[in-house]
């Protein structure tokens, strides 16, 4: 077991025993990585911060359930992903209209063009048009596929870690990730054709 993992387990143990400072240390240690992941999923700083806050609350409430069978990081990814998916589900139930969604009444599935908010430093960083296209395409993937793509390609999780985080067999992760990449490719190709017109 690595030192960092061992440190996490000790902190979890202490937090479970009611040591709030241990839990705070756990938060400090993981909050940035958690935010990165949440931001990559939501592409919105405020939403990502909410996801992370909700995830740590769930972690706090479920400390007793953490048995150390997976790493704390993997467990956190799982909770973050659930928070993200739950948030999306709630949004869909509210029947709000997403500007990123495909407009069904346009010929040939036109994507509504939205002004880039550029409100966050992260947005400004995305100056490269190729990256912008990729981000646009990722946003159009189903949430679950996007989570898998982000876990593997952005967060650097292995297939095994993703399988643990999503509670799926490794083979299923591989085949779903393959489908997600193919879907992404199709979106990118469509996008390219659209811009060529």
């Amino acid at each position: 077991m690595g030192d960092l993992q061992q440190e996490d387990e000790l902190l979890v143990q202490r937090a479970r025993d009611g040591d709030r400072s241990a839990f705070d240390a756990l938060v400090r240690k993981h909050e940035h990585r958690a935010f990165q992941f949440a931001f990559r999923l939501s592409r919105n700083s405020d939403e990502a911060a909410d996801i992370v806050a909700e995830a740590f609350l769930r972690v706090y409430n479920a400390l007793g359930n953490f048995k150390g069978q997976s790493t704390f990081t993997t467990w956190l990814y799982r909770i973050l992903t659930n928070c993200f998916l739950d948030m999306r589900k709630r949004e869909k139930n509210k029947q709000t209209y997403s500007l990123d969604e495909v407009m069904p009444d346009s010929p040939g599935d036109l994507t509504r063009q939205v002004e880039d908010p550029s409100g966050t430093p992260q947005d400004r960083i995305e100056q490269n048009e190729r990256e912008r296209r990729l981000q646009r395409a990722l946003r159009r993937l189903p949430d679950y596929q996007r989570a898998m793509i982000v876990m593997y390609h952005a967060e650097g999780l292995s297939y095994e870690e993703i399988a643990e985080a999503l509670d799926l067999p490794v083979g299923t992760v591989k085949s779903r990730l393959n489908r997600a990449r193919l879907s992404l490719r199709e979106i990118l190709v469509r996008d390219e054709e659209l811009f060529r017109i």
Binding site: V27, F35, R40, V52, Y60, L134, H153, A154, R181, V189
Partner: protein
């Protein structure tokens, strides 16, 4: 192997993870099917593009820690306020003739009052919960209130940390006082608290109405406190024997405590976090190699991260 089935193996083939029999079949199919070949080329290109995701730099927002803490506090409120024992600290370092400083991020928003630049007043405490000869920074009522209970007759002086102008002189007779501090100016305000006849004093920097944009600078410890308050919009308490020491700072980090620690460490201070207001004994122990105390030490409260109101 049909076209769709072949596509199912693209990832494994790309990653060299396909078993030899299937790899040969796919290679044969690719060689014979230009459409599939084109599909695979596009897929490989996408895999390359996905590699760029890892290089994206994402900075955590300043309010993240606070948002997390607020959520956790809603189910498990903290049981303590930050308290700094400066008498013990003075004994450890002041008597050695050495400078010392403590920076405490109190992490609350300031309720602006109607006065332009004012202290809210002095409140005699009904009951004394403040330990003797300790400053307590109360951040629970939307203001920074400094509580002080002397161990005998003393005089507390509150002055402007910028101009040095004396704002209040409070004679004390072993009873506790509470001094609320507010700032309604655009820039951070620094208050200076001194106990007459004591070697140490405390500085409280309170953010103004406008967030400072300057991320890097240099100046005295006092100016660092003001800069921290202005940039991170968090009240900062400094307890220092010498707040005129020169420091350099850079606000790249989202955590003002980390920044303060870095800045102070650079001039030979060491920093420690205080989970419950009590200094860690190890932080006070003399340097084992020399047998004498280190030149300076700083203590960072391990309280809630700062709340930044206007971004």
């Amino acid at each position: 192997m049909n076209h769709d089935k072949a596509r199912d193996f693209f990832s494994a083939y790309f990653e060299g993870d396909l078993e030899p029999g299937l790899r040969q079949s796919l290679q044969a199919k690719l060689a014979a099917d230009p459409v599939l070949q084109s599909d695979y080329s596009a897929f490989a290109e996408t895999m390359g593009e996905l590699g760029s995701l890892r290089t994206e730099e994402i900075e955590s927002p300043i309010y993240l820690s606070d948002r997390i803490a607020t959520r956790i506090d809603s189910v498990a409120p903290r049981k303590h306020a930050s308290v700094f024992n400066w008498r013990g600290w003075a004994t450890g370092f002041g008597l050695a003739g050495l400078a010392a400083a403590a920076i405490i991020g109190t992490g609350v928003s300031i309720a602006h009052r109607n006065s332009e630049y004012a202290m809210g007043g002095i409140t005699p405490a009904a009951s004394s919960s403040t330990p003797v000869d300790q400053f307590e920074f109360d951040t629970s009522s939307n203001s920074v209130t400094v509580s002080y209970l002397p161990n005998g007759a003393k005089t507390l002086v509150v002055a402007s940390g910028t101009s040095g102008t004396e704002l209040r002189r409070i004679p004390l007779d072993a009873s506790q006082v509470k001094v609320p501090l507010v700032n309604k100016l655009p820039n951070p305000a620094v208050f200076e608290l001194t106990v007459v006849g004591e070697p140490l004093h405390a500085l409280i920097a309170i953010p103004g109405t406008v967030r400072a944009e300057t991320k890097a600078g240099n100046g005295t410890v006092k100016e660092l406190a003001a800069a921290l308050a202005g940039y991170y919009r968090v009240p900062v308490a400094v307890e220092a024997a010498d707040s005129t020491k020169a420091v350099t700072w850079n606000f790249e980090s989202a955590d003002p405590r980390e920044v303060a620690g870095d800045a102070l460490t650079s001039i030979g201070y060491s920093a420690d976090r205080r989970p419950n207001g009590a200094p860690r004994p190890s932080a006070f122990s003399p340097d084992a190699s020399s047998g004498s105390p280190p030149p300076c030490r700083a203590f960072l409260a391990d309280g809630r991260a700062p709340r930044r109101r206007s971004l």
